[in-house]
Symmetry: C2
Subunit: 159 residues, 2 copies
Amino acid sequence: MLPCVSEASWDRSGCSVAGTLAVVGEKWSLLVLREAFLGVRRFADLQRTLGAPKAVLSDRLATLVEQGVLTRVPYQAEGERQRHEYRLTPKGRDLYPTLVALMQWGDRYLADGGVAPLELRHGDCGAPVTLQLVCAEGHRLTGPREVHPVPRSTAASAG
Amino acid sequence: MLPCVSEASWDRSGCSVAGTLAVVGEKWSLLVLREAFLGVRRFADLQRTLGAPKAVLSDRLATLVEQGVLTRVPYQAEGERQRHEYRLTPKGRDLYPTLVALMQWGDRYLADGGVAPLELRHGDCGAPVTLQLVCAEGHRLTGPREVHPVPRSTAASAG
DNA sequence: CACGATTGGTTCGTCAAGTGAACCCAGCAG
DNA sequence: CTGCTGGGTTCACTTGACGAACCAATCGTG
């Protein structure tokens, strides 16, 4: 049995998972971010690579900008009119592990023919990159069984 | 600038991120899994802790079972009628990093008063647990800038 | 056996969200 | 002025989420 928090009787409001999903959990949002991490920045390119309806894409970009995950920056290539592009902010860049986690699971369980469509390599040494759970003491954990969730809710002392 | 794959001209169909989101990307799915990792297993408890409509919860549980992320196992406590509960499969347990990634981002950017509502500790040593990007050579990476995505699409040799 | 309580759902009407096609505007080329 | 392209908005339609009501199986009680 997994270590559980007294059969899960703590306050779920303010849960970080729910909060994050409120920001990037709508349809297409995480796929927009995938494209952003791949270097796609312009509306038309996003629309083409994603295949999302323009109205939805427009809305998702607006909320991601509003949330500070992307910024909309105008730029002008020489001899061309001014355009603008969507770029990851540091806040948005910190969603990288989330995308990688989703990708790794899909690579393991959904890959056709056992071959992942995209590999991540360390830019310096070229070795494949993975996400891992580690503790501050440097121990590597293999899964949720080795993890102890500890609630620190402000008002839950009377739990 | 992030390292990008020739301005992102590879085949997105079969993308593992999209595939994973097709399995767990609907509303409530990842929150159901959060509860599962916290040890909540019964329909009524899920419904209470999540606050999701029963119809939606029922549908999400059915698809998660269908996808092999959860199993529906009957059990009978002594002196009680038979019930059934939803348990994580190994496939479901491997979604743990995804949940942790979402939680860590929320802890960093959404926590009221800078205090995360839930802390993860290593069961053995009690030290806080985090998700980290590491390469096979053991180097720790700090973000997407140090990662090189390499497409391995079967039909994309003519990219 | 009938009665009510509990678990674990389904059904239904309503409202929000996603979808695709069409349209719109600015700026540049000719 | 016309046409083309990027970056959207508007609209009609379909799908999905929501909450309340209802339903079936099972148990303890009388």
